[in-house]
């Protein structure tokens, strides 16, 4: 389990890193787009400004020079048509450079002064600055002989009344009255441009978000798949190990048991029946282990009991066995067939080799940890030497070790020790609280 946890932890770390990268990338991209948008807006505005300045010079220049106010409307209309946008030019009258009276249409009755030739129009404003910022920046520079040398500043006017004013251009007037033109350039194309830019940005952002979402979900899916793969591979490993073990059930055992059975059938049918039942119990149990690889200790004990029962019918007084299981350990879940091979081994090494046989003791205790002990104690007969220890078929033991480590990591251990007249194998599973809540 701990191994799996740390693996997941790694995955989370990677996912975190990737998300961070995506967000960072997004921020960079967004600011790039924003910058582009700004640049493009500024460009547009500049472009518009240049256009306007040209327009004003070409369209209004002659008029301003000749004060041909009558032709103004026409020209402006013409201009607006050519530019395909609304240009509204109003003639405004202002007094003392302080207040402005707006004449909403070009009045027919205005007669421009013929001696205002000194008035020159400069459209300095149009050079660099966005129109929107006109209020904060330059006004128009006007050389007015009647007034001071001071140019008219935007602050000079009541701009509340000039809400939509884009450019104020004083064009002169009689005596106290001065006239200017108020050219109102419709911002629609700009707005459109802006909207378009924003839309583009929004689309870009949405695409990005979608990409991020897709990326995240793909990652999540991958993670989930990975996790389930880890789980699957682990559980399938466990299954494979279990299968291997099932296949390893000693064929000698079966044939010996059948032989015992055949010897009892005629004259001891009761024994034969008992043996048949034990044998079928045993194999049914072994085959039922495939479900999920786990069962409660009670089930393993019943398997072991069947086994020892069968073996003791064969070996008769050569095999004595005792089993003790703590009551609270009986319902404890363990991987299937984790004790049985140890009992098989004990019979093989501790009983079969000895002419007088011996005793098998299975002891399972549950306190702070689960302790399973299988020991054999041979009846040493001084008259007969024992067979050599069978060179270890380690497969069974290795199998148990592998499965223990798959399930419990380093919380479980299997160890062996020799005793005075036999051997003992022990499985120790610690941290059992964690295991109890383990669903598989």
């Amino acid at each position: 389990m701990s191994r799996m946890k740390s693996k997941n932890y790694n995955y989370y770390r990677w996912i975190g890193l990737i998300v961070l990268l995506v967000v960072l990338g997004n921020v960079v991209l967004s600011s790039y787009y924003l910058k582009q948008f700004e640049d493009s807006l500024i460009q547009t505005i500049q472009h518009q400004g240049v256009l306007l300045s040209q327009t004003l010079e070409t369209a209004l220049g002659p008029f301003l020079n000749r004060y041909d106010i009558k032709g103004l409307n026409e020209r402006i209309n013409h201009l607006a048509e050519a530019r395909n946008q609304d240009i509204e030019i109003n003639i405004v009258r202002y007094e003392d450079h302080r207040s402005i009276i707006i004449a909403s249409n070009i009045p027919e009755n205005i007669e421009p002064a013929s001696n205002d030739e000194h008035l020159k129009l400069k459209l300095a404003i149009l050079e660099q600055k966005p129109i929107i910022n006109i209020e904060a920046d330059h006004g128009l520079e006007i050389e007015d002989p009647n007034d001071t040398e001071r140019p008219i500043q935007p602050g000079d006017f009541d701009f509340h009344a000039l809400k939509f004013v884009d450019i104020m251009a004083p064009i002169g007037g009689h005596g106290d009255y001065k006239f200017g033109i108020n050219i109102k350039l419709s911002l629609d194309p700009l707005e459109a441009k802006k909207t378009e830019m924003i839309n583009r940005n929004i689309i870009a952002m949405s695409i990005e978000i979608i990409i991020i979402l897709i990326g995240l979900s793909v990652l999540t899916l991958l993670l989930i798949r990975e996790r389930s793969n880890v789980f699957l591979s682990q559980s399938s490993k466990l299954q494979a190990e279990l299968k291997a073990l099932q296949a390893q059930v000693n064929p000698h055992f079966l044939f010996n048991a059948l032989n015992t059975l055949s010897s009892h059938i005629k004259d001891q049918p009761d024994l034969a029946e008992q043996l048949t039942l034990s044998l079928s119990d045993l194999y049914r149990k072994i085959l039922s282990t495939t479900n999920n690889g786990f069962w409660v200790i009670d089930e393993e004990i019943s398997l072991i009991t069947s086994y020892l029962n069968i073996e003791s019918m064969r070996l008769q007084d050569r095999l004595i066995y005792s089993i003790h299981v703590d009551d609270k350990a009986k319902k404890f879940k363990i991987p299937c067939l984790i004790i049985f091979p140890l009992v098989e081994n004990a019979v093989k090494h501790g009983i079969n080799r000895f002419i007088k046989g011996g005793r098998i003791t299975l002891d399972i205790r549950l306190k702070d940890e689960l302790m399973i002990s299988v020991s054999d104690q041979s009846m040493v007969d001084n008259n007969f030497p024992a067979a050599h220890p069978v060179p270890g078929e380690k497969k069974g033991v290795e199998n148990i070790k592998r499965r223990l480590s798959l399930v419990y990591g380093n919380r479980a251990a299997l160890f062996f020790q020799s005793t005075q007249s036999g051997a003992q194998s022990k499985i120790q599973i610690s941290d059992i609280l964690g295991q109890k809540s383990n669903s598989w």
Partner: protein
Amino acid sequence: MKIFRTILVDDEPPARKRLRALLTPFNEIELIREADNPFTCIDMVLTLKPDLLFLDIQMPGLNGFEMIRQIPSKYLPMIIFVTAYDQYALKAFESLSVDYLLKPIRSGDLEKAISKLNLLEHRFQYPESELPKGQMSQIEPGFLNRFVLKYGRKWEVVEEDEVIYFFAEEKYCYLRANGKDSVINFTLQELEEKLDPASFVRGHRSFILSRRQVRRLKSIGSGRLEIEMSDGTIVKSSRSYLQIIKNALA
């Protein structure tokens, strides 16, 4: 009809019971004894000299193959192996046993084995097949590398690498190991055939030495050698074995 005096050996009482029951109908089989372990069985074979042995392969102490290696050729009866699982079948086939039976034994198989037995016995009656039954001592191709010794009622098994040497004295043959001499049932001649030549060498007319136990060689003139063994015993070889020993120990 030839009556086969038969011994059966199996450590499992139910298995003996089963075989005993199956053998009852066969009149040519006279079951003289049963053994529940290979050591007792060796004793029975040597003393009762049966014609036939039903031999379980998996037994405590010695397996069936190891057991028959302990029996000198002239005492070897005909053998029918009995095994629960045919992992040994091939080995049993390789041997010159009469047959092998799988547990649980079918009476049909037993019948076949016994008729085969009759056939073989019949063949042995021809004078030209001077083949003693003992020829079946090649029943198992492995070397004799464990030695079963009996002291009164007590049995011991001595491993090949514990043996210092074998020697013949008067009409008995002895094995020296673990500081004592024990009678064994083989002649030096038989031993020479059965022992692994990589481990043992005939050093004298009446000695077979374990190569790994030779500590020192000393020439004592006129082509004779004094051989000091690891337990301090000194064996004097005769001229005729000089070259053999020198080659063997080189």
